[in-house]
Assembly symmetry: C2
C-alpha cells in the first residue's frame, strides 16, 4: 500500500501543477466597463490585490475614482490627483481596471524625439493589425512627459466627463520610467478604451499618471499580443443607462489637456 | 518519511480538486465577435467539440455560416438552411458562438398566448436589470414557432445583412421543444447581440433555428444570471473594418422575417 504513495503523489503533483496553471495567459482581464465608469459608477468592487490573480501588468483607477492605477511586476501603484504616488498594500478596491500576465514577444525602438501620436503610429505600423489586442510596455527616458490624474469623488457621483475637467496635470522633463497599457481594437467600444490607453510611472515610483503626451529621448517598446478578453462584471448597476453611445465623452476624457 | 506521504497526498488532492475546477461558472464564453460575423468573417476557427470546455449550453453558427447552432446538455445541433437538423460529432468548427455552463437560479412561467415580444418583456420585468447578462432556457409547447436559418457560403464572403436576405424561414405549429439563448446588455454592442438572442430546437431534435417569433401554449423559463464574459478572439482579421457601427445591419439580420 505504502509503495503506491509515491506514484499517487507524483500523479497528483502533475495534476496540481498543470491544473493550477494560470488560465489567464494571453488574456486581458478587465473589471467592469468603461461606459459604467463614464456614467459615474466609481464604487470599487474588486480588491486591487485580487487583480494579481489575472496578471502582473495593467492600468485602471480606484474606489471613488481616487487616481490612476499602474500595475507593474505585480505591484499596484496609485497616482492620486495630488501627484504623490504610493504603492497599494491594503484593502483598496477598483471600479475599473485591465490587467494581464505580461509576456512580450515583439520589441521595437522609438527614435529620439518621437511624440505620443508618432509612437502610437510606429507601434501600429509594426503590429499591422488594428483588430488585435496588445499589452504595451515602454521603458525609457522622455525629454518631456505630460500626465494627468483625477480627484477622488463623493456621492452623488457626476459623470466622468465632468469630473475630468477638474483633473490635475503633471509635466515632467528628462524623466526615466515605465509606460504601461494596452492597444485595444475598435470593437471594444462601450466595454473598454479603443486604441492606445497608456499610463506612466517614473523609475523612482514617485510620479506618474494617465499619459496625455510625451517626447522620447530613448525608449524600447515591448509588446505582448493577446487573444482573449475576460470581462468580470460586478453587480450590474440597474439604474445606469449603458445603452447610449459615450464615444464623444470618452474621447474628451482620454485626451483633454 | 513515509508518514508524511498521507499528509502530502491529502494536500495535493485538495489542490488538484480545487485547482482543476472549471473556471467558467457564471461565464458566457464567446468565440469571435458579432461585428466580424456581420462583416463576413465566416471561416470557422474553434472546433465545436472544444466549446464543451466552456459550457453545455449555447448558440452560434458554423464554418461557412452553415446554419444555426443550438447547444443543449452538452450536445451541439446544427440547423442548416435545408431545415434538416443533425447532431454535430465530427471536426466541424464555428466562427461565432456563445456558450456557458447552465445553472439556472430563476424560474418563471409564461402565460398561454404570450408572443415573442411579450415573452421578452415578461422576462425583463422579472430580471429588473437591463445591464445584466443572463442565459435563458424555455421548455414548453408553442402554438406557433417561426424560425430561420442561413445558407452555407462560399468565398468571397458577402456581409451577413446580404446573406440573410436568402435565409430559409420555418413555420411550426403545436411544437414542443427548447428555446436556448441569452439576454446581453447594451454595452456588448460590437461584440455580441444586445438584448435577447434565442434559438429553438424541437423535442425530436428534427427542427429548429434562430427564433423570429412564437406564441406560447405553455412554457417555463429558467434563467442563469452570469457575471463574466470571456471573449476568445481567433487570429484577428486585419483587413476587416471592425470600427464602423453595424447596429442597423444587426437589427435587420436578427429580426427580418
Amino acid at each position: 500500500m505504502n509503495r503506491l504513495f509515491p506514484v499517487a503523489f507524483g500523479l497528483l503533483l502533475l495534476i496540481a501543477v498543470t491544473g493550477c496553471r494560470t488560465p489567464y495567459a494571453d488574456t486581458v482581464t478587465q473589471v467592469a466597463t468603461i461606459d459604467a465608469l463614464l456614467a459615474g459608477v466609481y464604487d470599487g468592487t474588486v480588491p486591487c490585490r485580487d487583480l494579481r490573480r489575472y496578471g502582473d501588468f495593467g492600468i485602471g483607477t480606484f474606489d471613488h475614482l481616487d487616481g490612476e492605477m499602474v500595475m507593474l511586476d505585480g505591484r499596484v501603484y496609485q497616482v492620486p490627483s495630488t501627484g504623490v504616488v504610493r504603492e497599494v498594500h491594503g484593502p483598496l478596491t477598483t471600479p475599473f481596471a485591465s490587467v494581464c500576465p505580461f509576456l512580450p514577444t515583439i520589441e521595437l525602438e522609438l527614435a529620439t524625439g518621437t511624440d505620443f501620436a508618432a509612437a502610437q503610429q510606429a507601434i501600429s505600423d509594426r503590429l499591422g493589425n488594428a483588430n488585435g489586442v496588445y499589452a504595451i510596455h515602454l521603458r525609457g527616458t522622455f525629454s518631456r512627459m505630460k500626465t494627468r490624474s483625477v480627484p477622488a469623488q463623493t456621492k452623488p457621483y457626476r459623470p466622468l466627463a465632468e469630473v475630468a475637467k477638474e483633473q490635475s496635470v503633471f509635466a515632467m522633463a528628462e524623466v526615466t520610467g515605465d509606460v504601461v497599457g494596452f492597444y485595444l481594437p475598435p470593437f471594444v467600444k462601450g466595454i473598454n478604451v479603443p486604441g492606445y490607453h497608456l499610463h506612466f510611472l517614473n523609475a523612482d515610483r514617485t510620479q506618474g499618471g494617465h499619459i496625455l503626451d510625451f517626447a522620447v529621448k530613448q525608449a524600447m517598446v515591448e509588446i505582448d499580443p493577446l487573444d482573449k478578453l475576460y470581462l468580470v462584471l460586478p453587480e450590474p448597476p440597474a439604474n445606469v443607462d449603458l445603452g447610449k453611445d459615450r464615444s464623444q465623452e470618452l474621447h474628451q476624457v482620454e485626451t483633454s489637456r
